[in-house]
């Protein structure tokens, strides 16, 4: 039965809809306010940012805080931003390659000890990284890798790959096996089948993996703090340090730093929302 059959109830629904839109608009504004506040604070000049009453629309508009952020301490923050980008891209590249291969193998190929390895990988997803930092630090120190790029990339890859393998396996599972049989009969090897038949069909899963990895690595704090040292300090660690300085805090730098930190990931989110949400939701329901 459609609601059109009952004019009174339909009327009530229309009114209900207006109420819902109104409530949504109010809540959406409230959700956006902290981000808006951070941005306008970051473009206020030194006098206005600390002014009382605070201004909702800045009278001054200046990029000085951003300029200061990127030139302070001989460009230390710029260096950290650069570290974050290099670490992020390296991790994405490594994780994408090894997880797509492994996901394909777990889905479509006969392997030695397949079940055992898959169980190990699923188990890894359940164990929180935080509880293994101490032995990991010891391992990395033994390998003389502490405070290096490989150290961080390997740790990120280790703790992100189980979920990515799982996701890629599911992606390949949806591609019918018949394709493989046909290709085998045509005399194609495992590699040919992978590159020519399956990979093109699995691209949405690959994009989800890339987005998930880029996001998780960019937003990390704990691994970077523990294993990056000063040599590979990331932007997140650098701006968090601003809040831990004992003397007067520079809110111009902290708000502009916040914007610089969230901008790349927000752009990625708005551009690839579908993949972002897919990655995060299946990440939760792992």
């Amino acid at each position: 039965m459609t609601s059109g059959a009952n004019p009174i109830r339909r009327d009530g629904r229309e009114r209900g809809k207006t109420g819902i839109v109104a409530a949504n608009i109010l809540l959406a504004l409230a959700f956006l306010l902290p981000m808006y506040w951070t941005f306008i604070s970051s473009v206020k000049d030194k006098g206005e940012i600390y002014a009382s009453p605070p201004t909702l629309f800045p009278h001054t508009f200046t990029w000085d805080n951003y300029a200061k952020l990127f030139t302070a301490q001989g460009g230390a923050y710029l260096d950290c931003f650069f570290h974050s980008v290099v670490i992020d891209l390296s991790t994405v590249l490594l994780v994408a390659v090894i997880c797509v291969l492994a996901g394909f193998a777990f889905s479509k190929l006969e392997l030695i000890g397949k079940r055992f390895w898959m169980t190990l990988i699923l188990f890894t997803i359940m164990v929180p990284f935080q509880a293994l930092m101490v032995p990991l630090y010891n391992t990395m120190s033994g390998l003389k890798l502490l405070n290096s790029l490989p150290c961080m990339v390997l740790i990120y890859a280790t703790y992100q790959s189980p979920f990515c393998v799982y996701m890629m396996k599911n992606t390949f599972d949806m591609v019918p096996d018949a394709l493989k049989e046909a290709a085998y009969i045509d005399g194609a090897g495992s590699l040919t089948i992978f590159f020519k038949v399956y990979l093109p069909l699995a691209m949405p899963g690959v994009v989800t993996t890339i987005v998930y990895t880029a996001y998780t690595t960019w937003n990390d704090y704990l691994i970077a703090l523990t294993f990056g040292g000063t040599a590979w300090k990331t932007f997140n660690v650098a701006i968090a340090d601003l809040a831990n300085m004992s003397d007067v805090l520079d809110w111009g730098m902290m708000t502009s730093g916040s914007i610089v930190s969230l901008l790349p990931i927000m752009a990625l989110f708005l551009g690839l929302q579908k993949y972002f949400i897919k990655g995060m939701m299946s990440g939760a329901v792992k």
């Binding site: 392997l111 890894t124 280790t158 601003l242 939760a284």
Partner: protein, 300 residues
């Protein structure tokens, strides 16, 4: 079928399987080196007096005995659970409201979903800084709004005592994470057919009745799963308190992970830090067991 042909076939199949296994080798190697070995080693290390300098010596379960008498550690565990117990209801009430508000086929509803989800993608570090600015005692916009509207007479130093900093951090987390739980609940809500609600409203059920008597029971398992995930996240809380309250004053807002971090990487007591990690692993293991159970049978 003769034995001989079987062996030849098996030989070829075995060769192919060995070759195929190379596909998973990179993942396995890093998993064993940086997950499986540390996973075993964390228990091993917890049995030693193991510090940065000097040798380490076997002390059996002494680290564990120390942990269970360590006031700061027990307080940090207590605080972590207090945080989880406070933030979870706040988060879920808002998430439910949001999920119900966006579970409509109104044109443009996707924009609202995007906005509610946006804070989820911002790092915890950045969110902590954003709200630290809002909560700032001298120049913060919150104190300005509260004093100018006459709700408080003088500025509150939000981060200076646990009684105000804990709710303030929970409020920040609610803003940051509600969108995530909204999506989980929305997925569950969309699994309920429109006809169920139609039938209920024809039977004269009110909105609240429909929500508590029909909607909630039908998505119980999904809510359970979302709750466990959220609690696990809260138990692992670190940067929000490290950055916003620095664990203070005098460790009153120190979370368990923060204490473990300080023990291991500030004071370099690796053996003791490993024992604390083991306690954390057991707690999270129990929570993960519930998560696993709920995942196995998501409908009931």
């Amino acid at each position: 079928m003769t034995v001989r042909t079987t062996t030849i076939l098996e030989g070829a199949a075995l060769k192919r399987r060995v070759f195929n296994t190379a596909f998973i080798l990179p993942v396995l190697v890093i998993n064993i080196l940086f997950f499986a070995i540390p996973f075993v080693k964390v228990f091993y290390m917890s049995l030693f007096k193991w510090e940065l300098l000097g040798t380490h010596s076997f002390i059996g379960l002494k680290n564990y005995m120390t942990a269970f008498q360590d006031k700061t550690f027990l307080n940090s565990l207590g605080f972590t659970f207090e945080y989880a117990l406070l933030v979870t209801p706040m988060l879920f009430v808002l998430a439910f409201v949001l999920a119900l508000l966006v579970n409509h086929s109104v044109r443009g509803i996707g924009i609202f979903r995007t906005i509610y989800f946006a804070p989820v993608v911002i790092s915890m570090t950045t969110c902590s800084l954003i709200w630290l600015w809002i909560y700032n005692d001298l120049y913060g916009v919150l104190n300005y709004l509260l004093t100018s509207s006459g709700l408080i007479s003088k500025n509150i130093t939000w981060m200076n005592q646990a009684s105000t900093s804990l709710p303030a951090v929970c409020f920040m987390i609610t803003w940051k994470m509600a969108g995530f739980n909204m999506l989980m609940l929305l997925a569950a809500l969309q699994g309920i057919g429109e006809d169920v609600h139609e039938a209920a409203s024809i039977d004269g059920a009110s909105g609240a009745q429909r929500f508590f008597r029909i909607t909630l029971p039908m998505i119980r398992a999904h809510v359970g799963l979302a709750l466990v995930i959220s609690i696990i996240g809260s138990v692992l809380a670190f940067e929000q308190f490290r950055i916003m309250t620095k664990g203070g004053p005098s460790s009153t807002t120190m979370t368990a992970v923060n204490y473990m971090y300080n023990t291991s990487f500030k004071y370099f007591k690796f053996g003791y830090g490993a024992a604390l990690s083991m306690v954390l692993l057991v707690i999270l293991g129990i929570l993960s067991y519930f998560q696993f159970k709920l995942l196995q049978d998501p409908t009931e």
